[in-house]
Symmetry: C2
Subunit: 383 residues, 2 copies
């Protein structure tokens, strides 16, 4: 299905401001972070040799992927820690305005950040650990909010079939801002059997690209979304569409994709590669190092809140698709013959999906045909 | 060896202030956190059933212990996430005063928080994931500081023989205070062979208690230590002992104890139980649920910085030993016949150790004979 034939159409509300709002203006400067990331990656890679003393070895191809994989004999071990980011601030401001606590959704977002990354390598998530760093002991005095966090965390674990192992609830006055909470999740899983491993070896020309729908902004791009609210006369209460305010739309929880990848395996399908569409938007489709062309022929529908952000930030499609998920929360690269079954299996799990493109021989690039966009090899520098 | 025969002696410096400084005054109120912890623990426990779908099961006895353990067939999997706490603020203030970046030590502290907890259950730490949540992208513009963090992280991984799998370096303006960083580590390990598991089943009367020396405050009690500096006319530069200032003494990195537990296993010794002495100080010796008496007959030397804090905070021994590690960073509960070998093996790894006490039949209590202190079952409520 071809979706959203008029991708530059505007929502029925006030026009964009004169000056576009960049991601840098929103306070996120990837260039300052990335050199440290690269230095850390080199130092980290040098520690892999320690595994040999235990009779184990890393899967080197998982370095630079979304989760780290170690061969421990009968199966592979995968692990990760992921941060929610600044979405909790939106929940706090929304609660101050409306009295509604959305920390159950925020909990799901946090777990999604970890689980959706972990499953990219073919892992079954088994254990989640909670990291709830509060700005002070008094964060927990709002018992309803704290309970919503607990309840949402548990429901997300139930949805993903993971055991909540425990966690850490430090009071971090002086580090975390008063009234705020720094949320993260660590996840451990296994790739079992080993042929489920998907770190890109099987990614090849001819593969189909299946995109799984997002529910909205998920948990990336929130700095931009928060900066934008300053421009909106009605702030968080601005209507994204009839009956849906900006604040509520942003707080839709991130889709948990592990039920889809588990159902795929139950059906005998192991994706050749997966990309979790988070920071850097659709540039994440260029994640793997291989020289391959990714040609997108069909776009998912753009969630109204993302179209709204694009419009009010004054972003063209290039900026929007290189920053936000624009309706695609997760990409599965699968054998073309499996593509339609993959879509059906995802839909059976309640997750919208479509065959959106294909992998071709060629220079490393992403071509989004319906928008006449091209992103080259230089568009994403993660390693 | 009997250590420190005059445990209430004062350092040769100005006397304590008139009013004692409580932990609550320092901003840490455990009572506000603990009900949420309990609610979270119940919710978490209810998720364990999900492991059955994968053919696995949790080790229920690990609930409430320092790391969560799952039986995955050939071995047990152990996992954890742990936060540094507020020690990085001391490093920041020390750097502002002296120009010295201690983030290499801070990195070790962070890894120690995770690794020293993970090993309590008998696990060999395999993989560490880094969580570095900065107050903004600009935290990483101080390249020397960022590199110290990278270098220290790597060295701590080398010391523990773990692979640094990767991590997360988010810029969290609005959540983390400007100029600060929220540091945590996730660690995954295995208990292999399974008889290494130490969640307390074998803890029994007659066991010896071996205490491993701490290097100073480690990473617990820093809120108190920072509050205290306001009372010191010379602040961070106050002399703890000749040539050692308060700031530098606090920044001694936490001892990494996994080389000791690994060396013990190499020598055929599996501790019956372990306790990482962190928050709640020596009350952590009461960690296990069993009704047992822990009798301490020999004290480790108290690091000068801890004696200094006790003195200036106006704490009596009960307060000091129930808050700070007072020289004991880690407790090993071992068969009495192994105790002296355990001490020798620890010392061979460069970690001071002593046979400090024994486990007896009796009501649950901790008796610190040299100080005439008793802590009952009500002294530590963790579950």
């Amino acid at each position: 299905m071809k979706a959203d034939p008029s991708p530059v159409s505007q929502p029925a509300c006030s026009g964009p401001q004169a000056s576009p709002l960049s991601y840098e203006q929103a306070g996120v400067v990837y260039d300052l972070i990335d050199p440290v990331k690269v230095s850390a990656q080199h130092a980290a890679a040098a520690t892999a040799r320690h595994l040999a003393a235990h009779g184990f070895a890393e899967i080197a191809a998982s370095r630079g992927e979304s989760a780290y994989v170690v061969d421990v004999g009968p199966f592979y071990l995968a692990s990760i820690v992921e941060c929610l980011g600044s979405k909790a601030i939106v929940a706090d401001e929304w609660a101050a305005l409306t009295g509604q606590s959305c920390y159950d959704a925020i909990a799901q977002d946090t777990i999604a950040m970890a689980v959706n990354d972990l499953i990219t390598v073919g892992a079954t998530p088994l254990i989640v650990q909670a990291y709830w760093g509060a700005g002070g002991s008094d964060w927990f005095t709002d018992a309803a909010r704290a309970q919503a966090l607990v309840d949402g965390w548990r429901r997300a674990c139930d949805r993903c079939g993971v055991a909540w192992g425990g966690g850490e609830t430090p009071a971090l006055a002086g580090i975390v801002e008063p009234g705020r909470i720094d949320l993260a999740a660590a996840c451990t899983g296994i790739v079992n059997p080993k042929e489920r491993l998907s770190v890109g070896e099987r990614l090849a020309p001819g593969d189909a690209i299946v995109l799984l729908d997002s529910s909205g902004i998920h948990a990336n791009g929130l700095s931009l979304a928060r900066k934008l609210v300053e421009r909106l006369p009605q702030g968080w209460l601005s209507e994204v569409e009839s009956g849906l305010s900006y604040g509520a739309a942003l707080l839709a929880p991130t889709v948990l994709y592990s039920p889809v990848t588990e159902a795929l395996w139950q059906a005998g399908i192991a994706p050749h590669y997966c990309a979790n569409i988070t920071g850097h938007g659709w540039r994440k489709l260029l994640r793997h190092a291989k020289a391959l062309r990714y040609r997108i022929h069909t776009l998912p529908p753009v969630p109204p809140v993302l179209r709204f952000i694009q419009h009010h930030a004054g972003h063209d499609d290039r900026q929007a698709y290189s920053t936000l998920n624009m309706g695609a929360g997760f990409a599965l690269f699968v054998a073309a013959a499996d593509a339609e079954r993959v879509v059906a299996i995802a839909q059976a799990q309640g997750v919208g999906a479509r065959v959106a493109g294909l992998v071709e021989e060629g220079a490393k690039e992403l071509i989004i045909e319906p928008l006449s966009l091209r992103f080259g090899d230089d568009a994403l520098k993660l390693r």
